[in-house]
Structures are given as C-alpha cells and as structure tokens.
C-alpha cells in the first residue's frame, strides 16, 4: 500500500516537474490554416487557399519591424510571396496604382508601386539606427517565420513583411506589416 502511494506521489511529482521545466511546444501550425483564404482583387479576382498561396513562387530573407512607439520585433527569417507576384496574379500593378491590404479586424493599409518594388521604406539597423544606404528590400506576404508557419498570435497565417533577400538584417517601420491579411486589392 505504502509502496503504491509512493509510486503515485512520484508519478504526480514527475508530471508536475515535466509541466514546469519542459519547453512549451512551439505553436507551429496556425489553427486557422486549413480554412485560410486569400482574396486577390484586380482586373481579375482570385481566391487562394493556404496551399495555393504556398504553391506560388516564394522569396526568403531577413527582416524585422519597429512599432511607432519604438518596440522592435525581430529580425526574423522570413518566407513568403512577393507582393509583385500576387499583383501579377490579378492583372498586375501599374506605376500609379496602389495595393490595399485588408485584415478582418477592420485594418487597412495602402502600399504604392514604388514600395512594392522595394523603394520608399525607411530602413534601420537591428540597433534602430537609420541606414544611409538602403538595401534592396522586398515586401512579401509572409507565411513562414523562423522556419515555422506563422501562428495566429504572430499575425498568421498571412502577414505583410519586408525582407532583405541578401540575408543582412534590416528593420522597417511596422505600420505596413499588416497582420491576418485576408484580402489584397489593386486600385
């Protein structure tokens, strides 16, 4: 009886210890991934599911964001689809046109053709010093961060990000890093 009780106590303690010291599993798969869709509106309209977005040509690099109050996020290893590629799926983006990026929480951000081509961003070093010679940047629809699918709390499954494809970490202003993107519209 005593031995059984002892065993139970040990088992309970072991379980508690495991919960305490173990590394929490990474939230590697966004719960909404299976139903995630991305609507693209241009001269044509396209709706892509999660696999459809991942099937598009991808681009990878390093990037991070800084909030208007100076909080830095990243830099991260980023993988996604360039906004130019997405615009091309629905008829392209002219030099005087813009992309309107929508999220279901009512947030909307506008990106112009120059920015889609990587120009017009204010780049910072990871120490948040403005870079005098901006590298060539690529804005993307990110779906993978640091090698794992983008979780919901990170803005997943799809979030706008700006990356440096040469791998040198660059931070950009975070206002355009729209979370939970569900629609991109060419205007």
């Amino acid at each position: 009886m005593r031995r059984a009780l002892l065993a139970v106590l040990i088992a309970v303690a072991a379980v508690l210890a495991a919960g305490c010291t173990g590394t929490a599993p990474a939230n590697a798969t966004p719960s909404s991934t299976p139903n995630a869709t991305l609507v693209l509106n241009g001269t044509t309209n396209v709706t892509l599911d999660y696999a459809g977005v991942l099937a598009l040509p991808s681009v990878s690099g390093v990037g991070g964001a800084v909030s208007t109050t100076g909080i830095k996020y990243g830099p991260f290893q980023i993988k996604g689809v360039s906004l130019r590629t997405l615009a091309d799926r629905v008829g392209g983006l002219g030099s005087n046109q813009t992309l309107r990026v929508h999220a279901p929480d009512g947030y909307m951000w506008v990106i112009d053709a120059d920015q889609v081509d990587g120009k017009g961003f204010v780049p910072f070093s990871p120490e948040l010093k403005e870079l005098a010679s901006p590298p060539k940047l690529v804005p993307v629809l990110m779906y993978e961060q640091n090698g794992t699918p983008l979780a919901e709390e990170q803005g997943g499954p799809f979030r706008i990000a700006v990356l440096n494809p040469d791998g040198t970490p660059v931070i950009t202003e975070g206002s355009g890093w729209v979370k939970w993107v569900d629609r991109i519209e060419v205007r």
Binding site: L6, S67, I71, S175
Partner: protein, 330 residues
C-alpha cells in the same frame, strides 16, 4: 528500495517546489497608452509599484486609436486605456466603457537643437519663414499613423489662415510628392491628403511613422526642426519654440478657432473611424474598460495617475482640472 524511492520523491518534491508553489502573485494591470505617455509612465510605473507591491503595472505604447482597438477590435484583456485625444473614447468606446476622465493637455511646438540651422535666429515672429528656407529641413510624424502628424498640419493651416499668407505650402506642402495645397471651406481651410504622404526628392521634408523616430532624427541632425508635443520635447530635453495659443491646439479658449482647420486623411485605416481630423484642443483622457480583468486595481492606478498629472510633472502633459464624463454603457 524503499529508501531509494523516498530519496527520489524528496528530490522531485524539492525540484517542483519552486514550480508549483508560486511566489506571492502580483496582480497585473495591463495599460494601453498613447506613445507620448510611454516615457512619463515609465517612471511613474516604478513609483506606483514601490508603494503598491501587490500590483504589476504593464505599460504598452500604441497610437491612441490602436490603444483603443486592443479593447474594441482585438478583444484583448485590457485594464486601462489612456489616449492623447479624449474625443476618441466616446467615438470608439461608447459600448466598452462607462466613463472616461480627462487629465492633461499639451500643445504643438517646433522642437530643435543647438545644431539646427538658424537656431539662434528663430522666434515666434519668424518661425514660419525660417522653416520655409530652402536649406532648412523639417520633420513631421506620419499623419495617418500619429496624431502629432496631422496636428502639425492643422497648426500650419491655422497659421496660414491667421497670417493671411501662404504658410503650409512653403514649409511643407510644396515639398511633398505630390505637392499639397489647402483650400478654403467658408471660414476655414481644409487639406485633403493623398493615400500616401511622401516627401519629394530634395530632403527638405522628412516623415517618420512615429514621433519617437522624428526625435532621433532631430537629435542626429537629420532634420533641423520637428513638430512635436511640448511635453515630448521637454521630456527629451530638446529646445523648442512655443507657438501662439491661437494655433498651437493647446488652449480650450481657442477651441472655436481651431475648428477652422481640417485635415482629411487619404484612406480609412480603421473601419471604426473616419478620415476627418478637425482642429480641437489636445486633451488626454483615460478609462477603465468594462471588461477589465482587474477593475479595482486599474481604477486605483488611474486615480493615482490623474493625481500625478495634476502635479504638473516635467515631461508630462500639462495639468487640467480632471473631468469625468459618463457614457452610459454601465
């Protein structure tokens, strides 16, 4: 065997003791505050916690609208919201809070450093002419993202109307891409922004997402002058030029006059709020949302914050007689 098991048990119990018997928990009070309140609250947080050790004040800075959206749109558990525009609370939080309290004001100033061109020459009479000089670089925050940005534009519109000559264009509008000009709307001036407000080439004007980056640009010599809140300029130890109360958005006595300037943002960033930004006195306000997890602790902290603001601390919004406005949601 039994001894070994007992030893293992003791080890495990020791090992887990720090884990399962948590230290006395502090009650977290989650505060979403306007960016211009982050620095003042950083010091006040420590001061408050020193006398309230059971409370952990957690301050998170956002633009004022984003601070509110953490409650209304993103459904986060928030105990206190403090914003740099009191009118946003009745507009956006009427269903989320029962009342709000105004607790401070500030005014728009022109901040600069000893290294700014013409720093020894600029004064209340010539500031617009100095800022319009071709070799002077001027910075504003992005009007779509930061209230200080569209308030800078409102100041220039009010100055133009008051002085009866072009001010907005020479200082700012002529150096944007595309160039921008205000138009008359009866008694006042209004400005309609394009979707993206970008500086023209030439470097006369710089625009940054948040005023924090404008400050670092100013301190690094990237711009000579920047439109900022007086409290922020003071908090960063910058020199600044006060502007006349009739245009600086800091005096309730001039509220009617401020309404003669309106800026329309180029797009609706949030579905919850439109694009019109009309001049009005700058007024800070706070509220404890109905769904606050720690209502009593948040209320106590809010009361302490309002009292502290009333002391007229350096780098804080200037004190006003606090007014609590009921919204009728409770």
């Amino acid at each position: 065997m039994r001894a070994a098991a007992a030893a293992a048990l003791v080890l495990l119990l020791l090992f887990t003791a720090g884990c399962v018997s948590a230290p006395a928990a502090r009650t977290p009070v989650s505060c979403m505050v306007a960016g211009s309140l982050v620095d003042p609250l950083a010091g006040f947080e420590a001061e408050y916690e020193a006398t309230h050790p059971a409370v952990d004040i957690l301050v998170e800075g956002h633009g004022s609208i984003q601070a509110i959206r953490q409650v209304t749109d993103l459904n986060r558990s928030v105990d206190l919201v403090a914003v740099a525009d009191a009118s946003l609370i009745p507009d956006l939080m009427a269903g989320s809070t029962g009342a709000y309290t105004t607790f401070g004001t500030t005014e728009m100033v022109v901040a600069y450093t000893n290294a700014s061109r013409y720093a020894d020459e600029i004064d209340e009479a010539n500031w617009a002419d100095v800022l319009a000089r071709p070799d002077v670089r001027v910075g504003i925050a992005n009007p779509v993202l930061d209230a200080a940005g569209y308030r800078a534009m409102l100041v220039l519109l009010l100055a133009e109307r008051e002085e009866g000559r072009q001010v907005f264009g020479p200082v700012l509008g002529d150096h944007l891409s595309p160039p921008l000009s205000p138009v008359g709307n009866g008694t006042g001036l209004e400005l309609r922004l394009p979707e993206l407000v970008r500086p023209a080439t030439g470097g006369k004007v710089a625009i940054r997402d948040g005023s924090i980056f404008l400050l670092s640009l100013l301190e690094a010599g990237g711009v000579d002058y920047a439109f900022e809140y007086r409290s922020v300029a003071e908090g960063h130890g910058l020199r600044y030029l006060p502007l006349p109360p009739s245009i600086n958005l800091g005096s309730a006595a001039y509220a009617d006059r401020y309404r003669n300037a309106t800026v329309y943002l180029g797009f609706q960033r949030f579905t919850a709020i439109g694009t019109e930004r009309m001049g009005q006195p700058i007024e800070y306000a706070l509220t404890v949302p109905d769904r606050a997890s720690h209502h009593a602790e948040a209320r106590a902290f809010a009361d302490a914050l309002v009292r502290a603001a009333g002391e007229g601390r350096a780098g804080w919004p200037a004190p006003v007689a606090p007014v609590t406005v009921g919204l009728g949601s409770q």
